[in-house]
């Protein structure tokens, strides 16, 4: 397992402050730099470094589930000896964006997104055909906590 990354004070400040409310103005990195008492170049360099180290996934948007298509959580109960192979098959599908092993009889958990629910079901059928295992489909019904980022 790779060692944990440590953050400089400036990196931590940047990550804590801008997981939301990214500036909507022509030069957003300059606006961030001004707010943090840095230069635009320094902000871009810090972000590129965080991205290269894998800490920053991207500068992007968290989209409300099911507003731009359909999505669901799904899981498979995979025999332990096949777990890595099946995980690879599932990850290879373009509709899968998250895929985790968890400690449970249902040991492979993934999120599917598609244009609509019928396409989700087709993808789940494809997974069943490819793996011989029946996925459970657990679509979202209500959210109680809005994703606002994560204090570091």
């Amino acid at each position: 397992m790779a060692p944990s990354q440590t953050l400089s004070r400036q990196e931590r400040e940047l990550l804590n402050r801008y997981q939301r409310d990214f500036p909507l103005q022509p030069r957003p990195y300059a606006a961030i730099a001004e707010a943090l008492g840095m230069r635009e170049d320094d902000v871009l360099t810090l972000l590129a470094g965080l991205r290269d180290r894998g800490v920053l996934g991207r500068v992007g948007a968290a989209v409300r589930p099911n507003s731009a298509g359909a999505s669901t959580l799904a899981a498979l109960a995979v025999p332990a000896t096949q777990l890595h192979a099946v995980a690879g098959q599932v990850s290879a599908m373009a509709a899968v964006n998250h895929n985790y092993a968890r400690e449970h009889e249902y040991n492979l958990w993934f999120v599917l997104t598609a244009a609509n629910d019928a396409e989700l079901d087709r993808t789940l059928a494809d997974i069943k055909a490819a793996t011989g295992l029946s996925p459970i489909k657990l679509p979202l019904e209500a959210e109680y906590h809005i994703d606002l980022g994560f204090p570091l």
Partner: protein
């Protein structure tokens, strides 16, 4: 549901790859979509105001920072109690996500989900114990599923023309 036109679909698809790390990123993605910088900004503002974009900003990969004790706690609670219990769980500062999902009986009876991310497993288990005690969930059927390997973590892509828009 709020209508999302094709341009907004394409904009969300481009954003799934990330805003570029250049001085004028909105102008750059506008160039890919035949939109002006001002139109990109106005569209993003509208998507935020209508709640289609929850947040715009830095998407952190917590695993790389040592947050590796990632638990999904699940409970089977009565349908007429789930919304009130979910609202209570969501108030705990260490609950990062909380939602209700459809059961799939007989395989999966659990309808209430809460995520707790931490650096140490023992602490995460203690926090879930606190949820059980303080929200009165200990008597309900429940399980804690720690993740032990991450195979894929990408932005959502919504199929069809979207993935090709970039």
């Amino acid at each position: 549901m709020i209508e999302i036109d094709d341009k907004n679909h394409q904009l969300l698809a481009v954003l799934a790859d990330g805003l570029p790390l250049v001085p004028r990123p909105y102008a750059e993605i506008g160039g890919q979509l035949a939109l002006s910088e001002a139109e990109v900004i106005a569209r993003l503002r509208h998507l935020l105001e209508t709640g289609i974009i929850r947040r715009l900003g830095l998407i952190v990969r917590h695993h790389e920072l040592g947050y590796r004790a990632n638990a999904m706690a699940v409970w089977d609670v009565p349908d007429d109690a789930v919304d009130a219990l979910g609202a209570e769980l969501a108030d705990f500062p260490f609950v990062t996500l909380c939602y209700r999902r459809r059961r799939q009986l007989p395989h999966w009876p659990y309808n209430l989900f809460a995520m707790v991310h931490g650096k140490a497993r023992a602490r995460v288990l203690a926090q879930i114990g606190q949820l059980n005690d303080q929200v009165g969930l200990r008597q309900r059927p429940h399980q804690v599923l720690f993740s032990n390997k991450r195979y894929k973590q990408d932005a959502a892509r919504f199929g069809g023309g979207l993935a090709k828009a970039g």
